[in-house]
Amino acid sequence: MSLHKEAYQALESILGNENISEDPAICEADLKGGSGEFIFDANAVRPACVVLPKSTEEVRDVVKIANRYRLPYIPVSTYYIGLCAPSLPDTIIIDLKRMDRLEIDEKNMYAICESGVCFSQLQAEAFKLGLQTMTPGCGSQASVVANTAVHGMGPFGYRLGSAYRRILGTEWVLPDGEVLGLGSLSFSPEDYFWGEGPGPDLRGILRGMTGPMGGLGVITRMAVKLFPFVPEPPKPSGTSPYTRLNLPTNRMKWFHLTYATPEQAVSAMYEMARSEIGTMAMTVPPLFRYIARARGKGANAFWEAWAKAKDKIDPRETIVRILLVGYTSDKQLAYEEAVLHDIATETGATIAEARPSDESWIMSADAISVYFFGGVYMPADVSLDSLNQGLKVGQSTAALKKSRTPPLGEDYGYPGWLQLQELGHSSYLEFLAFAGLEDVEQLAALSQDCVQRDIDIGAYPVYQDPTVFGPKWQDYHHIIAEVKKTFDPNGVSNPPRPMKLMLE
């Protein structure tokens, strides 16, 4: 579908003809969004054109043209989310990949990222300075800006705080093309160090559990917090697919604590958090242990082993994996190790030091392994509240999933990723389910089961459709609708996100 001719000409004159395309094949690659089509792209419409702006001014001008001609647009960066899929004709994809500048203030521990910067780029540069960033559960190929604006969860949030805590000064092209600076950027150009105010904090409308999902304009630049790290960062070794980071064992160690039941594991996790030890702490579903073991051997090796897992896995056994880091010195590591052993003894765990390497989390290189075994995976349920909620929801979701298995893939043992966040003040549960390509509607159905269950038991999920949850939760969706209408009067910023405006 070709774009309004004058609109296209205007865009081309801003961007140059190398940075815009309406070729159907070029547009095809921006049809489905990321994270597996299956569920999200059923109604996807091929975009009318893709543009590649290089600067905030270009983004602003593109957005203004979109407003003028009432053309929907979707801002995308590294693409790994279903929200990138257009659902309306004449959609412009604003691909921010060319905006990839990165600046780090080492002393004051923050990084100014444009939308095209991914986490591994930031982590690599941070490591050089004895600092670190958070890496998200979806993988370090994700854009720092986009991921932090929308989701940004991962096990580092235990020590470093959840995503919304990490946003500092931010440059934001509002849906109508006005440029807004948040925090220190609001009245001091090029000053990104702080995110609050002045006065009420408008980062409040930037986020929410998943933010407006591209429905409130385009973030072009965001400063994110960096954090002190160990002086000698982990070093890479190995040849693909066996690559890993080797931990400096005088400063970093992984441990596994095995518990007979999830309740015992959760109780121990609460105690770890209260004791303020650890940098990451989470339960590890057996499925992912088997995936890790099959690395490089092929999915068939996974399936063979998994078929025997039922007899080997105690359905209630739960493993907690915890990373200890001696930020201050090697003595901090020794201290935390001693405390962990105390807790293990008191809580009846079998404790073992794990391999001194990381394949998965520090650079978040393994995230995509969720698709390893073939078929489709989906986060059937993702919730964020207390560890207790995580436990309840996880158990309930396991039962719901079982009711649809088969054709959903079999799961054994405690199947949820339950991660501590913010030194145990909250937790993050991600519960994955998988199916063959031919059974994807069962995944969608399970997701719906979970939504209804969340409503029934009063759980707080991450993915909140305002039109579904709003009527249950004090009609908050009216406010969301007002925010959307106020800031996006022409309804062009990734419609219909964040919600269908039914409240006319």
């Binding site: 940075n19 395309s21 070729d23 159907p24 094949a25 070029i26 095809e28 690659a29 921006d30 049809l31 489905k32 990321g34 994270s35 089509e37 893709v50 590649l52 693409y79 790994y80 691909d95 990949k97 990839d100 990165l102 910067v117 991914c118 986490f119 591994s120 780029q121 930031l122 982590q123 690599a124 540069e125 979806c138 993988g139 370090s140 190929q141 890479p236 040849t239 693909s240 697919p241 690559t243 890993r244 490089g296 092929g298 999915a299 068939n300 090796a301 399936w303 650079m363 290189a365 393994d366 995509i368 392994s369 698709y371 390893f372 073939g374 078929g375 489709v376 998988f434 063959g436 390509l437």
Partner: protein
């Protein structure tokens, strides 16, 4: 069809579009500047210019949702088929990404949507003159120091080293000689290995070259083919078995690159480097010698539930490419200081020449090469050593144009310098 696109529909469909195919393995990312692995995506930016983009296009073509457009052709033929995306994806998943990209090429050729005129010009020369330059066969290298009439080893010189960078052929011959290995040459009987035809999806034309070369090899009775060209290496080792629907290990010959031969000779004590060569160098891993060079494993099967394959399949993930031998060689030459770039081994950044890109998109090929040279500069060296004439040519030209402090040299020539 050698790479029927329909056979890889599941792979295209299963792509989660995570964008890992654009980035170096995160474990190995060492800087913001050199974190990307896909030249077309780094240069052109659109998601279409990437493995996941091409997988989407392939699916749309198969499903009749897309026709051949200028954009599609541009994307397909600007890709150097370097395989970085394939290795990246296979770190975590079992998807045959590169086979989809090759399948797209073959399909384009079959539907006469490609290759491009510049490719066709090369193809014509290969067809008629058996080399990509259109030069007379008789002008191929006929003699080299140490060559004999018959030997167990056949030195397959390749078009580039026969006609253009002949000094590398001479250096290779000297290394063979110095290691006490007798070798034969095919001279005018040597035909282009077929790489330019395979690169542009014209497998059936390439088959003719293969058949000739294999017959000629058999007539010489040689069991080992040594080459100094990474592209010839990969073609003989991987693509010939593919065309014959056999595995590499089932072929009647084995292929060695001169670096493998030299490394084996070093280990056996039949080769040593005595002359110091005072140089600070870095090594550029050619794609066809590195991640693309794992033996081909013929497999026929089908998909079952959850995409499981029956029978089980061994995936080529770039793990066993020829990475160590050249490094061992460089470390054994006195005076050489080897400094690694950031993107090395299976994560090497492509030189930009492959896949017919040097023929059809010269500017882009040079851009890609210049990216590599910037990386070399950042590692503080002035010499880039590599093991492929096309890497040498493209990197060398980029160096002459914009980075004249950088020298590009084939490892065989360094070995020659180091021989007493």
């Amino acid at each position: 069809m050698v790479v029927p696109l329909e056979d890889y529909r599941y792979d295209a469909l299963s792509c989660p579009r995570c964008s890992n195919c654009k980035w170096v393995d995160h474990v190995y990312v060492r800087s913001h500047r050199f974190a990307k692995i896909c030249p077309i995506n780094a240069r052109y930016g659109f998601n279409a210019y990437s493995a996941h983009g091409m997988l989407d296009m392939a699916l749309a073509l198969l499903d009749g949702q897309l026709d051949y457009t200028p954009g599609l052709i541009d994307v397909v033929y600007k890709c150097t088929l370097c395989g970085a995306c394939d290795v990246r994806c296979k770190r975590n998943l079992d998807l045959e990404v590169l086979l989809v990209l090759e399948g797209l090429r073959e399909r384009c050729a079959q539907d006469e949507a490609g290759p491009l005129p510049q490719h066709k010009a090369v193809v014509e020369k290969v067809n008629e003159s058996h080399n990509r330059y259109g030069a007379p066969s008789q002008k191929r290298i006929q003699e080299l120091p140490g060559a004999e009439e018959n030997a167990d080893i056949l030195y397959f010189v390749g078009c580039n080293h026969s006609y253009v960078q002949k000094e590398t052929a001479r250096a290779t011959a000297r290394v063979l000689e110095a290691s006490g290995s007798k070798f034969a040459l095919l001279g005018a009987e040597e035909w282009c290995c077929g790489r330019p035809l395979i690169a542009t999806g014209q497998w059936e034309l390439a088959r003719k070259k293969m058949e000739h070369n294999l017959d000629t090899l058999a007539s010489y009775g040689a069991k080992t083919v040594v080459t100094s060209c990474a592209e010839c290496y990969k073609t003989w080792k991987v693509d010939y078995p593919r065309m014959l629907k056999r595995s590499t290990e089932d072929m009647d010959y084995r292929v060695l690159h001169i670096v493998e031969h030299a490394q084996q000779s070093l280990d056996a004590g039949t080769l040593s480097f005595k002359n110091p060569v005072q140089m600070k160098v870095t090594y550029h891993d050619p794609c066809h010698l590195g991640r693309l060079s794992e033996p081909w494993i013929h497999w026929v099967g089908e998909r079952k539930a959850f995409g499981r394959v029956e029978p089980a399949k061994t995936y080529r993930r770039g793990t066993y490419g020829v990475y160590d031998p050249p490094r061992q060689i460089l470390n054994s030459i006195p005076g050489i200081e080897l400094v690694e770039m950031e993107r090395v081994r299976e994560h090497s950044w492509c030189c930009g020449a492959g896949g017919g890109v040097m023929d059809a998109f010269k500017d882009f090929a040079l851009w890609t090469a210049d990216e590599r040279l910037q990386e070399a500069e950042s590692s503080g060296v002035e010499t880039v050593v590599t093991a492929c004439p096309f890497c040498c040519e493209n990197l060398g030209e980029a160096a002459r144009l914009a980075r004249d402090k950088i020298n590009v040299v084939h490892i065989a020539e360094l070995m020659l310098k180091a021989l007493s």
